[in-house]
Amino acid sequence: MELIIPCAIAFVLFLLLFLATPANATADESILDEESLLHACHTKAQCPPQLVQRLFSRADWEFIANLHSAPLLRIFRKERKAVAVRWARQISSELSRAMQEHTRAARRSADLKVASELQLFFRFAGLRLLCVLLVVLIGFADLHTLAGLATKMSQLAAEFLSTRPALEAKSHTTASSTFDTL
C-alpha cells in the first residue's frame, strides 16, 4: 500500500521523460564494452551501466543472505543503501551543475528557442524528481527491486548530460556572433 503512491509518481515521471526525450537519444542502449567501462569509471560525470547493475544487484544480496548471518545482512544492507543514496545524489548534483552551466550560456544567447528550452527544463525537472523519488525508495525497498528504475534513470541522466556540449557550443556561437554584430 505504501508503495502505490511512489510507484504511481514514478510511472508518470517515466511517461513524461519518454515524451520529452529526443528519439535518437534512446536508440543506442547497448551494453558498454570494457574500453568504454574504463572510460566511464574515470568520467566523473557519468556512471557505467555495469556499476549501476552491480550496485542494485540481486546476486550480491543472495550471496550475503546465503551466509545466514543477520548482523552481516544488516551491515550489507546499510552499506549498499548508503552507496546507492550517494550515487543518486551524485547524479542529481551533476544534473544541476549541467543545468546551471546551460542557463549561464543561455543568458548570453541571442536566439533562444522557447520550446526547446522548455523541453530541456521539463527533462531536467523530471530527472531531478526521479532522483528524489529513488532516494526515498532506497530508504524502504530492497535495492534489487529498484534495479530497473535505477538503470533507466542512469541512462536518461547520461543522455541529458551528453546533450550539454552541443547546447554550450550553440550558445557560445550565438553569443560571439552577437558580440561581432555589436
Binding site: C41, H42, P48, Q50, L51, R54, F63, V83, R86, W87
Partner: protein, 151 residues
C-alpha cells in the same frame, strides 16, 4: 605507451594472482605526495613518462574490474590476498578493518560512485572473512582461489 603497457602486463601483472593484489601492487608504485607512478625496470626500458602512463592505465583498468565485480568474487580475492600475505589471517583482517589501508589504493580522479562501491564492498568482504574465521577457523588457511579468478 602500448609497448610499456604490454611489458607491464607480461612481466609483472601476469605473475600476480587476482585483481585485488594487482590493485595493491599498482597503488604501491604511486608516490603518496605527487600521485606520480614510478617503476624502476619499466622506466629503464621505456622511459619514465611511458612507464608512468602504463602504470596509471593498468591501475585504472584493475580498479574498474574490481569495482564492478561481484561481492562473492571480491570476497574470494580478499581471502586469497590474506592467505598469500603469510601473516596471521585474523591479524590482517583486523588491521584492514581498523586502518582501512585499501582507501589509498584507489586511482586518482576515479568516478566517486565507483570508489564508494568498491570501498563499501571491501568493508563487507572483510566482515564475510571475519564470519568465516569465526564459524570455521581453519577455512582461511585451507581456502583457495577459484581457478576462474586467476587471470
Amino acid at each position: 605507451m602500448n609497448n610499456s603497457y604490454q611489458d607491464l602486463l607480461e612481466r609483472s601483472l601476469s605473475k600476480i594472482n587476482g585483481d585485488l593484489s594487482r590493485l595493491v601492487y599498482l597503488a604501491s608504485t604511486r608516490d603518496y605526495n605527487t600521485g606520480n607512478y614510478h617503476h624502476e625496470g619499466l622506466s629503464a626500458r621505456h622511459g619514465a613518462e611511458e612507464a608512468r602512463a602504463a602504470l596509471e592505465t593498468a591501475h585504472r583498468e584493475v580498479f574498474c574490474r574490481l569495482a564492478t565485480c561481484s561481492l562473492e568474487e571480491l570476497s574470494a580475492q580478499l581471502e586469497s590476498y590474506v592467505q598469500k600475505s603469510q601473516e596471521v589471517p585474523g591479524e590482517v583482517v583486523h588491521a584492514w578493518q581498523e586502518l582501512e589501508p585499501y582507501r589509498i589504493a584507489m586511482p586518482m580522479d576515479a568516478n566517486p560512485a565507483a570508489v564508494h562501491l568498491l570501498l563499501s564492498n571491501l568493508k563487507v568482504a572483510l566482515k564475510v572473512l571475519q564470519l568465516r574465521q569465526k564459524t570455521n577457523p581453519a577455512a582461511l588457511s585451507s581456502a583457495s582461489l577459484p581457478p576462474s579468478l586467476v587471470r
